[in-house]
């Protein structure tokens, strides 16, 4: 299996899907130049400017046009460039795309993918570093996935493109250049199925997206037998896998890059407690960002993120509780 970066793995997956299905196309700013992370490199040359559409800086229209194109039978891949810019297209995503099938009584479907490169990335500061997956999980109608490995970046993209529901892919900016082994012919991923990234018996650590490698490294160094679960998709999410592991370890830690308050970690904790009963666990903790914007300076950015040290410490704390 070749080792590929996340960018290259998704580039190939998209190309393969576009070859397979002529109704698949992509739209977003600067896609003709390969996209800003190289995840569209060479695609305009292969598929032409009608299927790799470079758009003006018009996020609302990028999102809304994607919906319109889906309603007439194409499968658009909507590129938001940076997840934060989705804030300029929220009505289109939440009140249009997510609701169209339901409010029209099943007449139309938004078969489309929204790619949102999110999270911290080399001191990009407050307006280019947000993690808003918790918002989208809260929105009925959306499927939400968040790959943490290069293989999943490709397999979840394939699954998203073939899915008959609108799928939001939370791609992590910090992972674009990370490498992993990728089986290119792997079948599309199955939404709602987690990956046990590391087996262990003392603590269950649930995580996703850019936090996956951070947690894996932290688990390694923690000295604790931690089971690391990479959720891969957040809606639906693999409740069964998490509940089974937590029932065994009786200790649950959720780690994510997003702000802890109101983050998806709260849902995981609440749900596991509802399923196991409060007596089913001995210790619970969430480790995310403080309720502060992301600052620019490297030392400040480090102060607000879940570094491997902080994660390792939290694993030990939960294991000891």
């Amino acid at each position: 299996m070749p080792r590929l970066t996340f960018a290259e793995a998704t580039r190939r997956a998209l190309a393969a899907e576009m070859r397979r299905d002529p109704t698949v196309w992509a739209l977003g700013e600067d896609l003709g130049r390969g996209g800003i992370f190289g995840q569209y490199r060479g695609l305009a040359e292969e598929f032409g400017p009608e299927r790799i559409v470079s758009t003006p800086i018009s996020e609302a229209c990028i999102m809304g046009a994607g919906l319109g194109a889906a309603l007439v039978g194409t499968r658009p891949v909507i590129e938001m460039r940076i997840a934060d810019f989705t804030l300029c297209a929220m009505d289109e995503l939440v009140s249009q795309i997510a609701k169209v099938r339901y409010m029209f009584g099943g007449q139309g479907r938004a078969r489309l993918v929204v790619r949102m490169p999110g999270g911290m990335w080399r001191n990009s500061a407050a307006q280019h570093s947000q993690c808003l997956e918790a918002w989208l999980v809260h929105v009925p109608g959306l499927v939400v996935a968040a790959p943490g490995t290069a293989q999943d970046a490709a397999s979840l993209l394939k699954a998203a493109i073939r899915c008959d529901d609108p799928v939001v892919l939370m791609e992590s900016k910090n992972l674009w250049t990370a490498e992993g082994e990728v089986e290119e012919d792997a079948p599309p991923a199955e939404f709602g199925r987690a990956r046990i990234a590391r087996q262990g018996g003392e603590v269950t650590v649930v995580t996703w997206a850019a936090s996956v490698p951070v947690v894996e490294a932290a688990a390694e160094r923690s000295g604790v037998s931690a089971e690391v679960i990479d959720l891969r998709s957040l809606w639906p999410w693999d409740e069964a896998a998490v509940v089974a592991s937590a029932a065994r370890t009786r200790r649950l830690l959720v780690v994510h890059e997003a702000v802890t308050v109101g983050g998806f970690g709260a849902e995981v904790v609440a749900r596991v407690i509802e399923r196991l009963g409060p007596g089913g666990l001995r210790a619970v903790e969430r480790l995310g960002a403080p309720r502060a914007p992301v600052p620019f300076a490297p030392v400040l950015e480090d102060a607000v993120r879940a570094t491997p040290e902080r994660v390792a410490e939290a694993i030990r704390r939960v294991a000891a509780a």
Binding site: T23, S58, F191, W235
Partner: protein, 338 residues
């Protein structure tokens, strides 16, 4: 006068038939909305209803130039657009009543009427939201090599929202087959167009963004018909998007329960004087259409819509399972407990 009709002189017979069809459509729209408003006011139909009474010539004049395979997007005041595109009036009335068999299974209501089977891609509760959707629909059709166009209806209020700029620029850039129709009925809710819109208005804005535009008296059915014919022909010829700015007036309040005290009675009376239906009927009479035929058209439309309302009254509510259906396939919700 549009390209399809010689300027002046007696129209060809099939032309008259076309205009009679237009009159019928306008009557049907008005009769539908009269019933809808009454249903809402009486409490029979839940939610709000936005009536386009007085504006019927715009929906009819545009949609009669569309084919079944063409698409439209609409706004909160969308009954007329839907009917003009061929949507099932009975299913629409059931929808307004929130009953089983409604156009959207009772899940949409007046503001979310849609009938995809005739290319009506949906009303919309968000001002301006149909504009990007129309652009994308046109882009998708082009990609699929389907020879169809999209008409996009919105009000004067929408021209002050961002999607108007983004969508028109988009359509012009990609030369998309979209007819933007700005139904300028003088008000956005309780605010006059002029109080909210700086500069020379929708058509001037469109031109500046590279979308050629025409302005017409939207209460003059023949004028709308002619302008729509011209613009649709240009679009079908591959000329890219066009905008039709149709000045009109809404006779009712913003919603069925708005007394519209913000406008002088004389202004409303004057607008009613320019009734698009009466004027089209007069024009047809002038062209030799029989007065009895004209009267029958109105009566039939009223009878049809009364019957739909009866049917809606009698229809059962939707099955409760519908509340949890059609959200999504993957990760669909579990029904609530009891």
């Amino acid at each position: 006068m549009g390209p399809n009709r010689p300027p002046g002189g007696a129209p060809p017979p099939n032309e008259t038939a076309r205009l009679v069809a237009m009159l019928r459509l306008m009557h049907r729209i008005r009769a539908f909305e009269r019933e809808a408003v009454a249903a809402m006011r009486s409490g029979e139909a839940p939610g709000v209803v936005h009536a386009s009474i007085g504006q019927e010539a715009v929906a009819a004049g545009v949609c009669l130039h569309l084919r079944r395979t063409d698409r439209i997007t609409s706004n909160h005041r969308g009954h007329g657009h839907a009917l003009a595109k061929g949507a099932d009036a009975r299913a629409m009335m059931l929808e307004l009543y929130g009953r089983a068999g409604g156009a959207c299974g009772g899940k949409g209501g007046s503001m979310h009427i849609a009938d995809f089977s005739v290319g009506m891609l949906g009303a919309n509760g968000v001002v301006g939201a149909g504009i990007p959707i129309a652009c994308g629909a046109a882009q998708g059709l082009k990609l699929l090599r389907q020879d169809a166009i999209v008409a996009c209806f919105f009000g004067d209020g929408a021209v002050n929202r961002g999607p108007f700029l983004e969508g028109l620029n988009w359509a012009a850039l990609y030369r998309l087959p979209v007819l933007f129709v700005c139904e300028d009925n003088g008000f956005a809710a309780f605010t006059r167009t002029a109080e909210a819109t700086a500069g020379a208005g929708a058509a001037a804005r469109a031109e500046a963004i590279g979308v050629p535009a025409l302005s017409v008296d939207g209460t003059d059915a023949l004028a709308v018909d002619a302008a729509a014919a011209e613009l649709v022909a240009a679009i079908r010829a591959g000329g890219g998007p066009r905008l039709l700015h149709a000045r009109c007036y809404r006779w009712e309040g913003h919603t069925g329960t708005d007394p519209a005290a913000y406008r002088p009675a004389e202004e409303v009376a004057a607008a009613r004087e320019r009734d698009p239906i009466r004027r089209l009927a007069e024009a047809l009479a002038g062209r030799g259409v029989d007065a009895g035929e004209i009267a029958a058209i109105a009566a039939e439309a009223e009878a049809e819509m009364r019957a739909h309302r009866e049917a809606a009254r009698a229809a059962p509510p939707p099955d409760l399972a519908a509340a949890f259906a059609d959200v999504q396939d993957i990760g669909a919700p579990a029904p609530c407990r009891a």
